[in-house]
């Protein structure tokens, strides 16, 4: 699975996940990233910071989120399917967890302006809401293509006072928005925090975002033990950059009995070039400050990814997922656009829950596992976001 001849020995000293991770950025961003890493380390042991973070998660964001056991979806199979309902979090997705943490850090560092990239718009919405909450000027970079397919979220961001800047370069998607945010930051760093939206990018983002998202798996683990008296057989989450998945996995990595399954967008199919399955079809490389898997062509140019879901449409992936993949601790599978669309409809029709298209990928894989189960199975899926933003896009696909 891992071709060692493709690995570079980069002797990573900061933010290493095995041979992956690191801080591969222009020199001008190094002092700013170091400042952030120190602020994060200090905050981790600062009781008042942790207390404020927990209070916001509870009172503002609505934690803890429920763990719901599907009543109809797995009827007739040997599996029980539990959904960790991050879709019920304020803002509509798990993104709210970590933006609260990063906004608190930004304030702690004396920053007055937030910038962020967004794909589906969920991270942009989350950043806009903390921008409003903390009274910070907020600028969201969003690919021009994504702005068209996620128009309702663009309006939400603007409603909360954020400026949304279209990015025309490249394919006008998430990776181009990250490029533009990094360019902004290389000039604006004295007063600006770059609120990166996923567990990728340069150190300390992969570690910091995981720690701010860890609450997903911690709660789910306790809820599962309380309800079932045992750990799940598998924890399943969709993987774009990988923040909801690493948030779910973090507290299960040491639990060897729990299968960790990351679901990548297979787009039109893994045999085509229209997908976003970075771990399964990419190779190690440097993109956006981290050494991880990257979809790329025969010359090292970063390839354009494809997914029906804008939030998974990214040719990179967080470095800890690269490590979990290389170690074999987690499995990564692909779900095609059409399979995700079917799961989107089934969860809507059979449980009355409209999931985000991103999360529908995880549901689709769980349904495959449920169907194939010959023994009783406890499946835990992170329902990372709700589907309101996708309703129009899906309607056009299905031509209702």
């Amino acid at each position: 699975m891992v071709d060692s001849t493709q690995m570079a020995s980069l002797n990573i000293t900061h933010g290493a996940f095995g041979p992956f991770g690191g801080m591969f950025v222009p020199e001008i961003l190094v002092p700013t990233l170091n400042e952030l890493a120190h602020a994060f380390e200090d905050a981790q042991t600062d009781v008042s910071f942790q207390r404020e973070f927990e209070t916001l998660l509870k009172e503002y964001a609505g934690r803890e989120t429920p763990l719901y056991c599907c009543r109809n979806l797995t009827a007739g199979t040997k599996a029980k399917l539990y959904l960790k309902r991050e879709d019920l979090l304020h803002g509509g997705a798990h993104k709210t967890n970590q933006v609260l943490g990063q906004a608190l850090l930004a304030r702690r560092m004396g920053k007055t302006r937030l910038i962020a990239e967004t794909g589906a718009g969920q991270h942009g919405v989350a950043t806009a809401l903390v921008g409003a909450l903390f009274k910070m000027q907020t600028c969201i970079y969003m690919g021009a293509t994504d702005m068209k397919r996620q128009a309702p979220n663009v309006f939400r961001m603007r409603l909360m006072g954020a400026e949304v800047v279209p990015v025309e370069g490249g394919s006008g998607t998430l990776k181009d928005a990250v490029n533009e945010a990094l360019r902004d930051w290389s000039q604006s760093y004295p007063n600006t925090h770059y609120l990166l939206g996923t567990a990728a990018g340069p150190h300390p983002f992969p570690t910091m975002v995981r720690e701010f998202q860890r609450v997903i798996g911690r709660e789910a683990k306790a809820q599962m033990l309380e309800r079932e008296g045992r750990l799940p057989d598998a924890a399943i989450a969709c993987v774009g950059g990988g923040s909801n998945a690493i948030g779910l996995f973090a507290d299960f990595i040491e639990e060897a009995s729990v299968r960790l399954i990351g679901v990548e967008p297979a787009g039109h199919g893994l045999h085509t070039d229209k997908h976003g399955a970075t771990l399964q079809k990419g190779r190690p490389g440097i993109l956006h400050g981290t050494y991880s898997y990257v979809l790329q062509d025969a010359h090292g140019q970063v390839a354009e990814s494809h997914s029906i879901s804008a939030g998974l449409d990214y040719p990179g992936v967080g470095p800890q997922h690269a490590q979990l993949y290389a170690d074999g601790r987690a499995e990564y599978v692909g779900i095609r656009d059409d399979e995700a669309l079917e799961a989107f409809q089934r969860l809507s029709r059979e449980e009355g829950i409209i999931p985000a298209l991103e999360s529908a990928h995880a549901i689709a894989h769980a349904l495959k596992l449920a169907k194939a189960a010959t023994q009783p199975q406890l499946l835990l899926v992170n329902l990372s976001g709700r589907g309101d933003k996708d309703v129009e896009h899906v309607r056009q696909h299905l031509l209702f």
């Binding site: 980069l10 591969f24 020199e27 990094l182 760093y189 440097i286 010359h299 090292g300 140019q301 970063v302």
Partner: protein
């Protein structure tokens, strides 16, 4: 060790009390042949050295002009292999002109660190600056450069820490790339003069000669940089904008580039 082309150039210029003018262009823009002619014109018009980019679609240190230049080259199907071949041809025609590559790290590690540096050295490249490899993470890149006789070049931004500055001085060869300002490449925002103390600190730390880049688009910027203590100036977006303006008229493109380089070089005297 044999004196390298950068050392020879700086020695020669010092005798004449001149600074170095180093234009930057993206190799392969708008196509391989025109790119070769453009570089030839730059040298013929008085460029002391060359800074050459390899096109990359995720150029996070570059502003819109250089980004568009990269996209034009990529659309023309230009690959890193084409760029190295261009370097070989440039070296054959201009045996003494120092020639540096400026590129993004994924293009290096994709070909294999050591093989990339070896290929570049073989093509006559004198230095390599990897835009997204800060000196603190550069160990394996420095090693590959040293083994192949390529000079590793590092960037000194306005906010660099004392430790990193010393590392740049210790490991950088050829020249030291001092940023004229924060941000990304582009002529839209002009340089702010780096403080003379910055150049003194670099000299005291034993760094390779300091050359200022980012926001250098006029002869006045060149004079200001040299007056502050720089050994030279790099200009990218201003020249690349001339290429872009004259894509449909090669004669006018070469004329504009010739005038630009002459003016900028004149300002180093």
């Amino acid at each position: 060790m044999k004196t390298n082309r950068y050392e020879k150039m700086f020695d020669r210029l010092q005798l004449k009390k001149e600074g170095a003018f180093i234009p930057f262009v993206v190799l392969g823009d708008p196509d391989v042949e025109t790119s070769f002619e453009i570089v030839d014109t730059l040298v013929g018009s008085g460029a002391d050295a060359l800074e050459l980019g390899i096109p990359f679609a995720n150029a996070v240190a570059d502003g819109p002009v250089i980004q568009r230049s990269s996209f034009r080259a990529l659309e023309a199907g230009v690959t890193p292999a084409h760029c190295l071949e261009l370097c070989r041809r440039i070296r054959a025609k201009h045996p003494e002109t120092p020639m540096g590559l400026l590129l993004y790290a994924n293009l290096i590690i994709h070909r294999g660190l050591k093989s990339f540096y070896a290929e570049a050295a073989n093509a006559g490249v004198d230095s390599i600056l990897a835009a997204d490899i800060p000196v603190g993470a550069a160990g394996p890149f420095i090693e590959a450069a040293t083994e192949t006789g390529v000079s590793p070049v590092f960037v000194v931004p306005p906010n660099i820490g004392e430790g990193a500055l010393k590392e740049v001085a210790r490991h950088g060869r050829g020249y030291t790339y001092v940023l004229g300002r924060a941000g990304v490449t582009g002529a839209d925002r002009q340089m702010q003069t780096p403080l003379p103390q910055r150049f003194e600190a670099l000299r005291a730390a034993g760094a390779a000669p300091a050359v200022v880049g980012f926001g250098i688009s006029t002869p006045e910027h060149v004079r200001t940089a040299l007056a502050a203590g720089a050994a030279g100036a790099i200009s990218g977006s201003a020249g690349v904008a001339l290429v872009e303006q004259h894509l449909n008229d090669k004669a006018a493109m070469h004329e504009a580039l010739t005038g630009f380089v002459r003016q900028m070089k004149e300002a180093t005297r």
